[in-house]
């Protein structure tokens, strides 16, 4: 394949920088994909050729400046190239979550007036064909994986390979077409629209500019020391701002390699093979990894268990300090070094984290034990804070300052203010340009002097680190005046491996109650070890023994809360275990797995009433949506348990 080069006069937009990479580091691997068991790779110059062909193919089919391109699928090189191709032509890529259901897609397709869509496979094609009658503008559907597509004859469909061929021809016939298009792109132009699934309302399209992406990527590059020999694993949804930042913007600006796993089931296997140098995962993933490790250790031989226990104790004592270069007892240092040989290094290797220079987590709170575990075995896990509207660029913890309870200090170029009611206001280079076709929302979200209203309540501590309490509008109060910050309580509950999700109620009530979702793997494993048989999720979630187990966990949280006068009143008095997991498909969670509080309170209102009127159990029937759009009903009678609470220190003293 002959390499293509695109002469250009400016280098301040993302596609321009991509084509620059082809000249500056053309032979370096830009992206890999594991396909048919083998890592296939493309260098920057090969990537630039592919992007050129794709862009020309789109142009040949009529894609032009100002068009929006929908991109839907798992992380695949061809889909990442679609971002660049559309940007080159002055269009805007609009990625959607691959597990989005028809209704969500219709909204975005109509709001963004999508005419062209590039999707991964038959599953996405089927969804688009289903919504096509309600999305009048959709004219062209490009699909990559041809499996199962043989009998489809809809004229709107065209395979990626066909489009690429068209593009190759078009490029040959219009040699300087791309250069001209590229030169018309301005850094202030919108480079991507990321729809945020709000916890309360319809999705809003966050518009980010080329300049924002490049500035943020450069800021991250200097803060974290990214270089072009880095490797990352792209396994988080492309529609999520974090993946767009890491796998697209940063990869183009810094030049490091992006690796796309074979499938979502093989992510951990693929991670072991790649051993990325930079890694991001939401706390949930770190939790699951730790659970897996713990479960497997319980099955290990006695010698291995002894080694693990002994050296993990050393790590817990001094591991984090040793990694940060702080003081630690000499004996511990020696033991830690031995432990590294026998336990920590093999463990890191098994997790695929042998080469990690820094690992970040964020988006939700992380449990203390979890955080300490990873840091103590030598993984530089730190927290960061940001949102889609700020391109995830607000706060990060610098090396050596990784603390459990903060989200870091402001990044270079970021300014943070705290409003009277405690809401955090941010000015960042990654700030959105606007919400797509929604000037009212845009105006509402910014203060007069251009600060973004994050909607989070928090404060800056004496070390200059930001601490997040909860979503500002969720912070309420009990009838006795005690502050009720539901997420604060829920996070404490979710730190237990047995609890997957928790929703707390208490605003304007006498006391706090909670819904719990059990973590199937951890609780199932526990049940098996007790010799407790169960026939599935609903059965397990209704067992009295499981209630006992969870009651113990929640009572621990209560004891914790009781240590402070101001929090003692928010101890949890009653709880129940839900018969089904809260699910984004049922609109109970957002696609990034945040609880839609208002919706859940409404849907499960009868349960909340039962919690507060003293009933011992409550019957509930809920509607669920299956992945193919059909609906069904699940009914169950849920038991309600009272919990022991502890008296506050002041009450004890009295």
């Amino acid at each position: 394949m002959s390499e293509v080069s695109i002469p250009r006069s400016r280098e301040d937009t993302l596609p321009a920088l991509l084509f620059k990479n082809a000249e500056v580091r053309g032979k370096k691997t830009a992206i890999r994909e594991k396909d048919l068991g083998i890592w296939q790779s493309w260098t920057w110059s090969q990537v630039s050729t592919e992007v050129a062909y794709l862009a020309c193919g789109l142009a040949a089919k009529g894609f032009s400046r100002g068009n929006n391109l929908a991109i839907i699928g798992d992380n695949r090189p061809r889909l990442y190239w679609s971002f660049a191709a559309s940007q080159t032509l002055g269009g805007i890529p609009v990625p959607l979550y691959q597990d989005a259901i028809a209704e969500e897609m219709i909204y975005v397709f109509n709001d963004a007036e999508i005419e062209f869509a590039i999707v991964e496979d038959q599953e996405q094609v089927d969804k688009l064909l289903e919504i096509m009658p309600r999305c009048n503008k959709l004219k062209h559907i490009v699909y990559d994986d041809t499996r199962g597509m043989r009998h489809y004859d809809n004229p709107a469909l065209i395979s990626y390979d066909e489009l690429r061929q068209l593009g190759q021809q078009y490029l040959a016939e219009h040699a300087d077409f791309l250069s001209r298009e590229l030169d018309q792109c301005r850094p202030d132009d919108i480079s991507v629209i990321l729809y945020t699934s709000g916890t309360t309302s319809k999705p809003k399209g966050v518009c980010l500019s080329h300049k924002a992406c490049i500035d943020v990527a450069s800021g991250d590059m200097s803060f974290d020391g990214y270089k072009d020999d880095g490797e990352i694993l792209s396994y988080l949804p492309m529609a999520w701002v974090g993946d767009h930042l890491f796998s697209y913007a940063q990869s183009i600006v810094a030049g490091f390699t992006v690796n796309c796993p074979e499938s979502s089931e093989t992510v951990m296997i693929d991670m072991k093979e790649i051993a990325p140098t930079y890694y991001f995962a939401p706390p949930r993933v770190f939790e699951n990894l730790l659970t897996t490790v713990t479960i497997r250790m319980e099955d290990a031989s006695n010698l291995k268990k002894w080694l693990y226990r002994t050296f993990m104790a050393v790590a817990r004592r001094s591991g984090s300090e040793i990694m940060d270069g702080k003081r630690a007892p000499i004996l511990d240092r020696v033991l830690y070094a031995i432990g590294n040989l026998f336990v920590f290094a093999p463990l890191r290797n098994n997790l695929g984290m042998s080469r990690i220079q820094c690992a970040y987590t964020g988006g939700a709170a992380i449990g203390p034990d979890l955080y300490r575990f990873y840091r103590s075995i030598g993984i530089n896990l730190k927290q960061l804070y940001g949102q889609t509207e700020t391109l995830a660029y607000v706060c990060k913890q610098p090396n050596g300052e990784a603390r459990l309870d903060t989200v870091g200090s402001p990044m270079p170029g970021v300014d943070i203010k705290v409003a009277d009611k405690g809401e955090i206001l941010v000015k960042s280079p990654g700030l959105l340009k606007e919400y797509y076709k929604n000037p009212e929302a845009t105006q509402e979200s910014l203060t007069e002097d251009g600060y973004f209203r994050t909607g989070d309540a928090g404060f800056v501590d004496q070390d200059g680190h930001l601490k997040i309490i909860d979503r500002a509008k969720d912070v309420g109060a009990l009838t006795d005046g005690t502050m009720f910050a539901p997420q604060f309580l829920e996070n404490k509950l979710k730190f237990f491996p047995f609890i997957k999700e928790a929703v707390c109620f208490g605003d304007k009530r006498d006391n706090v109650t909670a819904f719990i979702n059990i973590e199937m793997e951890a609780v199932g494993n526990w049940a098996e070890r007790q010799g407790l048989g169960y026939s599935g999720y609903v059965d397990l979630a209704s067992k009295a023994e499981v209630y006992d187990l969870l009651a113990e966990c929640i009572e621990q949280v209560n004891a914790d809360l009781a240590e402070e006068d101001s929090l003692a009143g928010s101890q949890i008095k009653r709880f129940l275990i839900l018969h089904k997991e809260l699910d984004a498909d049922d609109d109970e969670l957002t696609r990034t797995r945040k609880v839609r509080r208002g919706f859940v309170a409404e849907k499960y209102g009868v349960l909340i009433n039962a919690l507060y009127d003293g009933s011992d159990d409550c019957f509930i029937e809920t509607q669920v949506k299956f992945e193919d759009g059909r609906t069904g009903n699940i009914a169950a009678t849920l038991a309600i348990r009272d919990l022991k609470t502890v008296a506050a220190p002041s009450a004890l003293a009295a």
Partner: protein, 263 residues
Amino acid sequence: MTITQRTLGSTLLKVDNISLAFGGVKALTDISFEVKEHEILAIIGPNGAGKSSMLNVINGVYHPNNGSVTYKGVQRKQMRPHEAASQGIARTFQNIALFKGMSVLDNIMTGRTLKMKAGFLSQCLYFGRARDEEIEHRLKVEEIIDFLQIQSIRKTPVGRLPYGLQKRVELGRALAAEPELLLLDEPMAGMNIEEKEDMSRFVLDVNDEFGTTIVLIEHDMGVVMDLSDRVVVLDYGKKIGDGTPDEIRNNQEVIDAYLGVSH
């Protein structure tokens, strides 16, 4: 499940007056039927009816006392299983006959055995022709792994897999031989609804994508009626029905012997 219209070819397999007895036990008595190319034929019947025996006769494991098997227009009486295999017949087994200690990848690779041409020594030393062949075979095997969506268990020893996945691996091994005729012995046995739907989809995809003719033994009537073009019914070694699923559903003798009525 929708079944796309397939054009059926000429007769691929024809069995005429097959009789098989083990001493006094008459396993099969005078069975005749035919299978067209690209067809999906189901053989159903109560336990002990002789269904697996029929498959074994087609495959060359059992030699019938009477009757003949005509495959691809060539009549044959005695055939060894490996001769049947090299002619393009592959099968799966009711109780799974995989190599439990080997990985999924290696198990499926064994399905390529008859296609390996390089000599023993050259394969041991892994150079030249053997190496190129190995890469070619590996590619085919990976395509099958991709088709069956079992990438995440590629390296897992088969013995550690749940039953449903083992059956999928066995199907993979049969597919690795690139058969023209695929014999499936109770592919859905022991599966729950979801697993059955997955397996059914794979069976249909194999027939659709590769054009493979399929003969399957199955007890789940829903699967049989949905997947097959024609059904042959056996009872006590005799054929009591032969026709489309609808014809069989309404055949009184079949209802009496096997299907029963709903109350």
